[in-house]
Structure formats: C-alpha cells, structure tokens
C-alpha cells in the first residue's frame, strides 16, 4: 500500500525533526522516515553547544543568531526547558601567536554584532579558577548557550505528532523515484511506499547516499567525533570552555602550531560543557574514518590527557561513558540547504558538521518556508545544493 503525504522527510535526527516540525506547523502532512531509532545519528552522540565564537562572520554566524532566538521561543512553544542554558563561553589562549590571531578574529566578530571580548589572565582566572597556569588570556562571550539535543528532538517529535506529524523508525529509505504525476515515490527496506510532491533529504552524514538514490550529487563526508561524559561533579568555573588552538589552525592554516602527530590524526580539540544533569561533556576528536562510529582507546585516552592538562582537578574525576557520532561534513564547511535544480521538489537539509545543534531550529524554519512558499532568501544562495558541479542530472 502506498501512503500519501505532502512532504517526506528522510532522516530523523535533529535536522529532520526540526524540518518535520516546522513543516507540520505550516499545515503540511509530513512523515519522517528514520532508518534506525530515536537519536541514532550524530544528534544522539554530540555536545550541546550553541556556539557563536567559533563562527566566522558570514552566513553561519548570521543564522546562529537567528537560531538562538528561535530556541528561546521554542522553550515556550514545545513546553519544555529543552535544557536551554546560557552560561557563556570562553576560548582559552596558550601563547602570543594564538592571542594575535584571536584578537583579530574577535574584532571581526564584534563588528558583526557578537558580544565578545578578550579577558586578561586575571579576569580569566576569576571566571575559571581551576585552569592550568599556562593560559595567558581568553575570550569571553555571554552569548554562547546550550540546549540538550535529546530533549529538543523529543519535543519536536512530541509537538509535531500532536499536530499530525508521523515519525516512522526502522525504515531505511532504499529507493526514490519520480512517477508520471511528478510525485516522488519513496521505498523503504520493508517495501513500504510513501508518495509526496516534496522530499527533504535530512540524512546527515548519509545525505550523499540518499541523494545518490535519485542521481543527485551531495558531497558529504562523515567526520567522527568522540566525547566522554563525567560523573556529576561540583561546578568547574562559570562558563563553557574550548581551546583556541583548533580555531587558530582553522582560521590561519599557515600558522605554525605545535601539535603532536596523534593530535593531528585525531583532530583533537578541547571542549568542555556542563550539562543540565551536572555531568560534564568533554571532547572531542574530528576524524575521517568512514562510517565507523565506534569509540577508540586512543581517542578516549587523548581526550582525557588533554582535559587534565587544561583543568588539573579533572584527574580525580571519573568518566562514566564515551560516545562517538558522525558529523556531516561538506567540502566547503557550509551546510547544504535548498532545492535541487535538477529535480524539482527535492530538497536537501544536511551538512552542518559541528553546528547542527546550534542551527537546527533555523534550518527547519528556512526549509519549511522554502517548501511551503517557494520562498528563498538571496543570502541562502551560497548554501544551495546547486553549488556543487555536475549536479543537474534531469530526472523525469
């Protein structure tokens, strides 16, 4: 039997559920098809940061501002705290070279409207008394926030269902066709068929494979991230933290930063956030290892050693879990959002890499506007899937 809808969303991670929620809110009949279960993808194995400081001025930073405002209104709309909190964030600076790059970056971000400053060592230590002595300064932004991804996904699904959205688990999409009427016919591994005039590919790191089912090209690579979760502990400092080192190498690829071979291979960067449950999430790695989402001894050990070298009191803290997820990474570091020129009615919303939690609400909202009103901002042009060449293979 074929079931008919207005929109089929493929992938039930935070992006697929956000798209489903905002589409349903605009009156569409939506089904979200997820190959696994709840929170099976990256959205169930990640940190919880809504970060501004890591973003280069441009579309990502702009959308992050809008997403933060949406998060604030979602707390009421979805009738849940969503683990939303606003502890602010600090980027830790180890030496003069990093300081120079960060000073310039902070200036750029300020001119873009981000509330961020450089703190002296004394001011930094006042907010973070447990830091290792070696840090010479830090940035501080009161805007950096966080939300609990499981709660966000769960409440998108709950509210969506109340309005008629369907979420079907254990339904890997294995075939996508366009039939004579111009509708899409989507087949799952169970041989269930779904029909709709619109399809949204929100399959995260798997979005390339899903696009491939209808002959489209979406270059997407899984980038593994491992993190550890501590027991409940007394607070360490006032804000969430991460290291300038990673940001500096991203901003100024030419600059010499002393990293060990292991650090480079693992793409190790320090990130520390306090959860609503008083545990800490400590990360993380950024590795290209295909679709392998296991944790590794090497990764966990490197994260722990790094964490203790940043905050020595952590040496006496137990970690209770280690998890890994696959970030969806595009070649140019920007998400893919929009309709494919070759196949009208087929949209992709994926490729958020390390920003999918921050950007989920705005992604869903923009996608719903595109589908429902055929509307797309000119500023979103740079996110269009059509930016990747050899895309336009006409399917009838």
């Amino acid at each position: 039997m074929v079931q008919s809808y207005d929109v089929l969303v493929i992938g039930g991670g935070i992006i697929g559920l956000s798209c489903g929620y905002y589409l349903t809110k605009q009156g569409k009949r939506v089904v979200v098809l997820e190959s696994g279960g709840f929170a099976d993808g990256a959205s169930g194995a990640c940190d919880d940061m809504i970060l501004f400081q890591s973003k280069k001025p441009g579309i990502n930073l702009e959308l992050a501002f809008e997403s933060l405002e949406l998060y604030k209104s979602l707390v009421g709309e979805l009738e849940d705290s969503l683990g939303f909190a606003n502890y602010g964030g600090m980027v830790l600076i180890e030496n003069e070279r990093e300081l120079e790059v960060m000073e310039e970056f902070v200036m750029q971000q300020r001119s873009y409207g981000l509330d961020v400053e450089i703190l002296t060592k004394a001011a930094m230590r006042k907010k973070q008394p447990f830091l290792h002595e070696r840090f010479i300064a830090s940035t501080y932004s009161p805007m950096d926030s966080q939300a609990y991804p499981f709660a966000v996904m769960h409440k998108f699904a709950r509210k969506g269902r109340q309005m008629g959205m369907q979420v079907v688990h254990k339904s890997p999409v294995v075939g996508i066709q366009k039939d004579g009427t111009g509708d899409f016919l989507v087949t799952t591994a169970q041989n269930m068929q779904y029909r709709a005039p619109h399809v949204v590919n929100a399959a995260g790191a798997w979005a390339g494979k899903v696009a491939d089912l209808i002959g489209l090209n979406v270059p997407m690579e899984p980038r593994r991230g491992q993190i550890i979760i501590t027991e409940k502990i007394p607070a360490i400092g006032e804000t969430n933290l991460w290291s300038a080192k990673y940001l500096v190498t991203k901003l100024k690829p030419g600059i010499q930063i002393d990293s060990t071979e292991e650090e480079k291979r693992l793409g190790l960067a320090f990130a520390l956030t306090r959860t609503e449950g008083d545990s800490y999430l400590i990360g993380s790695t950024r590795e290209f290892v295909g679709y392998d989402k296991r944790t590794t001894m090497e990764g966990i050990r490197a994260i722990i050693n790094q964490a203790v070298s940043f905050i020595p009191v952590l040496k006496d803290v137990n970690f209770i879990r280690a998890i890994a997820g696959l970030r969806p990474a595009t070649p140019d570091g920007k998400m893919v959002l929009g309709e494919h020129a070759g196949v009208s009615g087929f949209f992709t919303a994926a490729g958020h890499e390390g920003d999918g939690i921050s950007l989920a609400p705005i992604t869903g909202k923009l996608l719903a506007d595109m589908v429902c009103e055929g509307r797309s901002d000119a500023r979103l042009e740079e996110l269009s899937p059509n930016r990747f060449a050899s895309n336009a293979k006409e399917v009838s």
């Binding site: 008394p129 447990f130 027991e231 409940k232 502990i233 007394p234 360490i236 008083d278 020595p312 009191v313 006496d316 803290v317 137990n318």
Partner: protein, 106 residues
Amino acid sequence: MQRIIEHPVLGPLPEVPMVKIIVDGEQMEAREGEMIAAALIATGKKYFRKTIKTHEPRGIYCGIGRCTDCVMTVNGIPNVRTCITPVEEGMVIETQMGYGVWKQEQ
C-alpha cells in the same frame, strides 16, 4: 568502637598498626589498610553525605565501589568512593553536601 573481634569463619581480628585520620575536623583512629567506610562504621558514623536536592543522609550501600552512595570529600577531592579507598595517615575526610566543592590548592 564497633568491630567484629572474633569472626566465625575468618577467626580473630589480626593485630595491625593504627593510623590517624581526621573526620569532619575530629581526629580518629583507623586500622592501616582498611577502607575509609569500614573505619567510619567502626566509629559509629552512619551517614557520609547528604543528597543534593532533598538533603537526605546516605551511607554505605553496595560496599564494592559501584553505586557511589558512599562518596565523601577526601583530602579536598569530592566524590571519593569511601568503600574502596583505603585510609592513609593524616587523611582528611569530610561529610559531603551534594556534589561537594573543589578545594582550590590542587
């Protein structure tokens, strides 16, 4: 002192040197090598911490390092499982409120 001096299976309690520990500011004696929890129970202390939300007293529960019910602040480190941590001469042991606090001089 509440100790089993004559155990039906293990026999008599062997002689061992004693160490001094400080529990909530009070000096006490413990048998060298025994776990903090054992030493405290021997002194009659029943609660080791209070829970963070409802401030209920907690003490030993599993006794084998799994449940974390017995945690205290030991030498300034919060959340130490006292049932699997041996006493040491001069050890400072404190009843913990909630998750405790970090002592800064680490």
